[in-house]
Symmetry: D2
Subunit: 488 residues, 4 copies
């Protein structure tokens, strides 16, 4: 089944979330002006699946049911599927200019799918069947799934069992014939309040004696014991002001939530890993490889909007043809396309898991993400250069509409003839939103920390490269080992 | 006279500003929570002048009156004075973590001082005496002066007289025996609403036929015809929320104002340039050389706070000794000190003007500023890396204080034992304020555009270098010209 | 037919080149110690085609004859063919650690193939058939083809016809019923002295009135009127010294030649463009897109050797596990893989020409190359950091073998126990060769200027991007245009 | 006394060096074409001292004798002296375009001067008097002193006493009433074969039990037991070819030597440290702070030549006014001046030692050097971009002079009218020499490793900053500690 955007939004109304925002429990969260843009962003993933020009990217015939399902709930069954994923993500980045949140679930689904298969192979468990059943349910109802991996971690220098408070990592506190009870918290949970289901996954390598921490399961977002606390983001309350300019991006936005799991019961048919410590890191790394690939799509797409906005500001200022402006815009394009190239490369070079779905190339996905921790920042810097100081000194929308001073702003904020001051003002606030404001976390912080901080990528890159071969050819060419004779 | 911080703040209450903020005319602006932190930041320039350990940097015996005056109203009478300026600016950056706004006036005062001297020499005018009289008044009353240079510019591709609207640059619209009437607007006016006086200066090279645009004069900030429109900055309304954490920097902040000059009358004894087109660019470049030097002080000081905050976050997270964290913090220090080194170098290498005050070295001041357009951005990026994703996902202060969910936040936001979650939360919001929020414009946008955008520095660097000598030695060493014989 | 490496080398002996090197006409150039390593590097392209593990990449069933031909003489008939190309290039870069020179021909062949097809379509000419005939001859005999594009250009500020000397660009000086006579010179001709055939192509957009400059044709490298002047490269005469260490890379090297075409006659059946000015730039850009793709293969492969050598030096010095060394090596891998990712992406995203062969994606190929103008330089810098100062202060091979002082060197150049000083010495000279010496032009200068200097890529990137779409989404999201409603 | 350049060169003839080069013992090394340019470069330090326009920088009235002595043998008695040092170094860099080698001695002299004073204060030894006596002798005879610090180090992971071979660090092997006998080797010894005296210093922190390794003393360069082995540098044998173009820089060059100390006797009056382990690191760090300052002079000066050469190439190619060329040249200037600014800043901010001479500011000197490990590489990259591919493909000088092909080169290597091909050729070879060739080690490798590799600077920067103060202000501003009230 493919829900429409409207159906998706209405489906959320049925959830009974225990959600807090700015110190208050929010009842009608679907229509809350701070939250709604983030719902709209996810809704775009539902909308594009119905668009003739995008449906080939955004919908898939399910390998489980044969029915058409949303790409975000689908398995990647070929490298082509992986490529389509990043191309779709780029389009969605262009259409929303922010994080559309549904990738974590998609990437989690694929990682749990292949990992449970291998666990079952080794341990004779039944996780994979359970998971497929749950996934069928998700696909059939076109639910939105939030992948929930990042634990709060407490003291980073110490593993789970040595924490002063053992709840710093989500873990099983009780097992019964019916299911398990879990406790802990997941931080920075992208889109969690806009999702029907939370797919819980461990966050790091679990070692012997830490079996309780090796847990993956699915929890409805309004299950008993689940509390969601909405994260503050830059300029969030501008959405409460009533205007549509100062927010920069009126319709769309990201969402990050702190999920509290206070003794949440999970029945066995929703439990996908429980104690198999050796597969914990497998699951983490597969998810990471997918999600590091993802940024090669969305961050290129968001970058496209920033590039377009910067070029438009240059137009409005009358400097579009200045050599240094052209050079800077050219550089922005170059950086965005480098990110996308890496996203494409790790997709095309993907590999088939034992379970039959495809993984992105681990080395190249990490290379992709490491570039993402750098280039969007330079894109922001260049956009701020091109936009000019007005970016942070512009009057407010209410000043602009003010009977007395509005005319001054209209007069003095004009750029080239033919472009109203308001257009320039709007473009400035969009750039502001992307570099400082409401969606800056989508473009900057997520690029830095999403799917793991840069050091995590450095470590994986070091590990995944074939250094022995590199050293072998160096020894051969230098003559430390026997040199290769081309005539041999 | 040296006012105390308290006296300065009280003195502002006497001003009858025509000031707009968020669509409203503000009456008690001194106590307005959005504005007050910016007043506090300037007040720090008054406070340090009384501190025994800083008075040698922050106060000076006036060359006009012999009396002790605030450094920000003083002339630079030696390279040592220039050095003291940047060292003071670094201290103030450390104490406020934002723009303390008073440098524009200090730099404008020194630029107008030497320029008016030279105009008088050439044209037999009396601007310099007038200016000294005004400056004595400013010094004696320890007034705060806002330097007002940047015109709104309209279509950047076109000079003042070719603009569709001739008011895109401030200009004289009427001359009488009493004085002149000026019209136009000055954008991004740092600290203008916290100043007693506005020192108007032209913004670019004025050409023949544009004599009306070559105008410099002093205008009280509450003069008839002056309207101030407060610029929005990231997260500005967090100051209205009542808490003291989410703002990040509760006490201090910057300020940018759009000044409308709607036919403002200026008596002749406050007019310092009026039609001398050939000195317009002299004034602009002298101001720019001073102000590009200034950033070698303040931005290093603000950087120190960001470095300290990043190191503290690493402490709280338990990763302070991780090699990659140490490397990143080392890099941050390196970048901040490179900026400061450039600020020091252009100060030590200053030169004496005909009027007797000292200018920073033009080439090196531009080099300083060009680094400032880059390095703070990298410092922000590294700080965001070290801080972690919580930077943009942390709950609000009201959640933290909430009777039901507060305990969850307390529990799950803790880092290493011994450090309360609140400390970690506070440090995060400080870093957030500096990189995204309230004071990010002070550290990012000002670094980019203050005292001219990077391309302006590139052009000056190209112009100020002795390229002919560089090519001469290249020709000599290559043998294109006769080679130098060391035995000759 | 597939020649072996030995057959290739012997086939060169039959050529009667008019070749000058260091001021002398060289007779037995095949065995000349300065030249031979560059022949060996090309020979590797012949060798790998016979290797079972590489033949799938290195040989192809010809679409012209159905017979197996070398990849370097083949047409790219699918995106998969393009991908195989860059993967093969990476392997060859790893095996030779330098430029193996044969790509220019391969890329030229493919560009001329599709361009001649389109010229014929438009003008009813027969170039394409002629070209296929010539290509069949090349494939059948497994000849080595040098693509010859770059004219010497004279005054870069001025087009061909305004040059003081009209011969600054290769052009037709005479036409007859038998053929044409061409004059001019082609600079930086990679591998020209190791090739059987020169494939001449124009170097820039040709305009009306410059018809004589729109010329592409094939010339045997030993044709009458062709003079080849061997370019000097760093440390070239070390190959004459007799040892095998100080050269760094004893077996392999690059080659750059200045080709003089002094009234060379070309029969019509070897002429592929002659006066069709509108296709000149098509040919140039298709070649450029191929060759900018190529660097995503070879330069990653050469980088692998440099990474392996750096890691080995770190081993030998006993610092392999130091955090900063690991970080630097990780960075080197990251940069090399970013280059390769771009090479892969532009290959996978290739497109079919009217003639049926495939072009790499133009935008992404330019992005690839622009990264190549930057990252190898940083790889060199990091390698020099890791290698240590000994890189440029090490004694000579003859000192090492010297009866008196050899023992000192043996003693004092040792690193960790178990590794002989000579191994360390050899690894140093390899790194030296790649960063300063014999093969540094292959890795640095070619990366910068091969297939066009960085500014050429900047221009293409600006042109190839869909800026209108980027601006459209920016206008939509900012509300300058109507905003997209996700519910519509 | 001030020797002339000629006198200096003649004075070298009296030395009986045991010097090896390319496997041969060299007798008349002063006139050896490979060595002579390096002697000329040092000779320039003698020449400038006699030039009226430079004598104020290049000569000093000795604080020991009152007589005029060369700056390179003088003590720095004020921050002004430190500033003059870097300004002189910049001039010498401009005049030689390479390393003029005499700074190591100057910096060593000043470091040993202050350290011996403090050792004597603590231990009642007489090192300082001895050192002053030796320094007077050096000053009086205007000798050239090579500072010899860097040990060969063997396994970098292990301290001196744990090395498989204890001679990896220079140490005392015997003590007698007459003096000491030392053994070991010093690597990368800049200018050692052009110096009269070697000033031996330890290379790292010496710990208890390693007393024999804490040794500093002066040894004549031709003392018994001293063997000098000349290091190979890129393109060194081009100097033997007879021409004057292909070398790039015909008159000047650097020099790096491996010094073998095979049981060299040193009388007590030349011994300045012997076993005082706690001062070993003091001496090392003082030397390092001086030498890291030095690079803020010379590398800016060498950069000037590269900038001039690049601009000249752009002139010759007819592209000097192209926006991207201007931007790149502007960037080169910016980077060179940033280096120089850091060199100036650490000089102006110097401090007085107990012995009365002045040290550069340690933190800023390290910041200076860390920039030097980066920016010259980018300057080279930009120069290579501007120069064009001809940099590594140009024919040889002998081709250029060849009766048959010379005319082709003359014709086809021309750029803009009015500039002979030879001028362009010469400028190319100069850029080649600085980026790949003979003097590239002076500009690249020395910048990287001279005075310690980049990681050494990172560590010092981390240590020298006042992090506690940075964290204090961060705690205060964030409210973790009490916030500063500006009204207090």
């Amino acid at each position: 089944m493919l829900m429409t955007a409207r159906e998706y939004i209405n489906s959320l109304r049925k959830l009974e979330l225990n959600l807090y925002l700015l110190g208050d429990k929010v009842e009608n969260w679907v229509d809350h002006p701070i939250i709604r843009p983030s719902i709209n962003a996810i809704a775009m993933t539902y909308k594009v699946a119905h668009e003739p020009e995008n449906s080939a990217l955004a919908s898939v015939d399910s390998s489980l049911s044969g029915e058409k399902v949303n790409k975000f709930n689908a398995l990647f069954l070929s490298t082509d599927d992986l490529v389509k994923k990043v191309k779709l993500q780029r389009i969605l980045g262009q259409r929303t200019a922010c994080c559309f949140q549904r990738c974590v679930g998609m990437d989690g689904i694929n990682a749990v799918f292949s990992t449970t298969y291998e666990i079952d192979q080794k341990y004779g468990t039944e996780y994979h069947q359970r998971f497929k059943k749950w996934l069928s349910y998700v696909q059939q109802n076109d639910l939105c799934v939030a992948g929930a991996m990042t634990d709060v971690k407490g003291n980073r220098g110490v593993p789970p069992m040595q924490q002063a408070d053992r709840d710093m990592f989500v873990h099983v506190v009780e097992r019964s014939s019916d299911g398990i009870i879990i406790r802990g918290a997941k931080a920075h949970q992208t889109g969690a309040a806009n999702s029907h289901e939370l797919l819980i996954m461990p966050t790091l390598r679990i070692r012997e004696g830490e079996e309780d921490y090796a847990v993956s399961c699915a929890v409805p977002s309004d299950a008993k014991g689940v509390t969601l606390i909405y994260g503050r983001q830059s300029c969030d309350t501008r959405k409460l002001e009533g205007g549509d300019i100062d927010v920069g991006n009126y319709n769309f936005g990201g969402q990050e939530v702190l999920i509290i799991l206070d003794d949440v019961f999970v029945p066995w048919d929703r439990v996908f890993v429980c104690g198999e410590i050796d597969y914990s890191i497998v699951l983490v790394e597969r998810f990471a490889a997918y999600h590091r690939q993802s940024y090669g799509g969305c961050k290129a797409g968001i970058g496209d909007v920033l590039i377009g906005a910067s070029a438009s500001m240059a137009d409005y200022n009358g400097v579009r043809k200045a050599a240094h402006i052209r050079d800077k815009i050219g550089e922005m394009i170059h950086l965005a396309e480098t990110i996308h190239s890496c996203g494409l490369a790790c997709s095309y070079e993907g590999w088939r898991t034992m379970a039959g779905n495809y993984q992105s190339n681990t080395l190249l996905a990490n290379v992709c993400k490491l570039n993402v921790t750098r280039f969007p920042y330079e894109l922001c810097r260049l956009a701020e250069d091109i936009a000019g100081g007005l970016l942070v000194t512009t009057p407010s929308e209410r000043d602009f509409r003010h009977p007395v001073i509005g005319k001054y702003i209209e007069k003095y904020l004009k750029g080239v003839p033919g472009v109203p001051a308001e257009a320039r003002y709007r473009m400035l606030t969009l750039i502001h939103a992307m570099t400082f404001g409401l969606t800056a976390p989508s473009y900057r912080t997520e690029s830095m920390h999403g799917a793991g901080s840069p050091q995590a990528q450095k470590i994986m890159i070091e590990r995944e490269t074939d250094m022995e071969y590199k050293q072998k050819v160096a020894r051969s060419i230098s003559g430390v080992d026997d040199r290769e004779n081309v005539l041999d």
